[in-house]
Structure formats: C-alpha cells, structure tokens
C-alpha cells in the first residue's frame, strides 16, 4: 500500500525504463535515489522514468529527480519522465521544474523509443 516498487528494465543497450509504482515520499525517496542515480552516472545512458503508476509524489520526489537531472548534465546521459499524471505534473509546473526537465504526460510508444528519437 503506502510503498514504492521500482522495476528497472534495460530495453536495449543503454536504454532503460524505470517503472515506479506506489508513492514517492520521504520514506521511499532514498531507495529511489539509490536506484536511479547510478543509471544517470554512465555517459550515453537514456533513462525513461515511467510514472504511470505513481499516484503520489511530493517535494522529496522532486528532489530525487533534480539530483538525477543534474547528474545527467554532469555525465552526458539523458533522463525523461513519461506517463506523468495530472496531479504529479502539477507539482512540476508549480515549482517551475517542468521548464527545465523533460516531461511527458503521454505514453511513448515502443517505436518512438526504439528509433532513437528520444
């Protein structure tokens, strides 16, 4: 229930989908940071964070994504947040983070991810 499960799938070499189901808060954020940061630390990695099943997120979650985003800039990797729910998207908008990070409310279909456009 009030918890977060994290599934990391390597779709093709250096292309990751990280599926997050549950809630990102002060209790679950440290675990999330530990999973995501190493992925962003390798040059050339493309990391898709799938928030389809993330129904709750607060500033502790924003903090994790900011630090991962900073890491992508320092390490020449990429990160994108996909399937972002309205309520979650709202927090990125209110804080101005949507202007800096790559966010998408829609599903990215397999083709698009695979043809390297991402």
């Amino acid at each position: 229930m009030v918890n977060l499960s994290i599934d990391v799938i390597e779709e093709r070499e250096k292309n990751f989908i990280v599926k997050l189901s549950g809630e990102i808060d002060v209790y679950t954020a440290p675990k999330l940071k530990k999973e995501i940061l190493p992925l962003t630390e390798e040059a050339g990695n493309k990391v898709n964070i799938d928030l389809e099943h993330t129904h709750y997120l607060d500033s502790t979650g924003l903090g994790v994504f900011i630090s991962a985003f900073k890491s992508t800039k320092n390490n020449q990797s990429e990160m994108k947040l996909i399937n972002v729910h309205d309520r979650v998207l709202r927090l990125f908008k209110v804080t101005g983070l949507h202007e800096i990070m790559d966010l998408s409310a829609e599903e990215i279909d397999g083709g698009e991810v695979n043809n390297g456009r991402f």
Binding site: M1, V2, N3, E23, D25, V26, Y27, Y56, D58, S59, T60, L62, G63, I66, S67, F69, K70, K73, N74, R87, L91, V94, T95, G96, L97, E99, I100
Partner: protein, 160 residues
C-alpha cells in the same frame, strides 16, 4: 462560537509514518466532501509539513514527536502540524525556498537547489498558511471546501 470537530494525532517523527498521516487526512477530507483534487493538495501540503518535522526538527536529538491537529469546520479544514524540536529563522531560509523560476535560480544546473520546495508547496496548495516558530515549529494550514470563499488577502504569514 463556531462549532467544529477536533481530531488529534501524535506519531513518532519518523519517515515511515508520513504515509499513515496521508491516509488519515484523506479519510477526513473525503468524509468532509472535498474534491479529489483538493484531497491530493491536502495530502501533499500535510506531508510536506510532516516531512520537515522528520527531516529538520530533531536533528540534535535522538527522537521526537510529530503532533497533528485537524479542525473540521462546516466550510473548511484547518490542519496544524507541530513539533517540539529546533526552530528556524525565517529570514535566513527565505532565500533558499520558493520555485526555481525566482531570480536566485538563474544559475548553472550544477548549482540548482535540490530542496527548498516544501514550504513553497504548502503555500501554493493551501488557502491560508501561518507559521509560528517561537518554540519548535507550528504550521497552521487552512483549506476551504468551496474555493470561492478564500480571502485573496490571506497569504503566508510568518510570526516570529
């Protein structure tokens, strides 16, 4: 006098209980008839205040307590989140809180803040916020059932 119900909750100031608080607040808010969106706002705002207690209030002590008070009125919910821990100086933290679009943030990504969104979000999501940090920290937040009742003059007030 205005009639209201009062609910009190005390939990250890530990990360694992913030989710429990969220469930309680959604129960209270949905029983009061708040919309789905408003319930989500309340969950975030109260979690932010509770997260601050967990993260900042008892840094110098081994453990502490988080106290919540819910005032259920016919037209609004008042939520008080308080601790008996360290306080803070509002003037000092003012520069490192707020949205990233503020002037302070026109800086290289590597210097981007990773925190400082908590109090800002509380203020953005609730209709009225008062913070008292004379002894420990008390955050008092109000959300109206009917958004048209919000007094536009009511903004964050820091009493120190």
């Amino acid at each position: 006098m205005e009639d209201f119900d009062f609910i009190e909750m005390k939990v250890p100031a530990k990360a694992e209980y913030v989710g429990v608080i969220r469930l309680s607040i959604s129960g209270i808010a949905s029983r009061m008839g708040f919309s789905y969106e408003a319930i989500e706002d309340l969950k975030v705002a109260i979690s932010e205040a509770a997260t601050n207690v967990v993260a900042h209030a008892y840094e110098k002590k081994e453990k502490g307590e988080l106290t919540l008070g819910f005032g259920v009125y016919h037209n609004r919910l008042e939520v008080m989140v308080s601790d008996q821990g360290d306080s803070f100086n509002f003037a000092e933290i003012k520069d490192r809180i707020g949205p990233v679009t503020s002037v302070d943030d026109i800086s290289p990504v590597s210097q981007m803040r990773e925190g400082g969104f908590g109090l800002f979000l509380i203020n953005a999501l609730m209709d009225k916020v008062e913070i008292n940090n004379e002894y420990g920290v008390i955050v008092l937040m109000t959300k109206y059932l009917d958004e048209t009742e919000v007094d536009v003059n009511e903004q964050v007030q820091a009493n120190q």
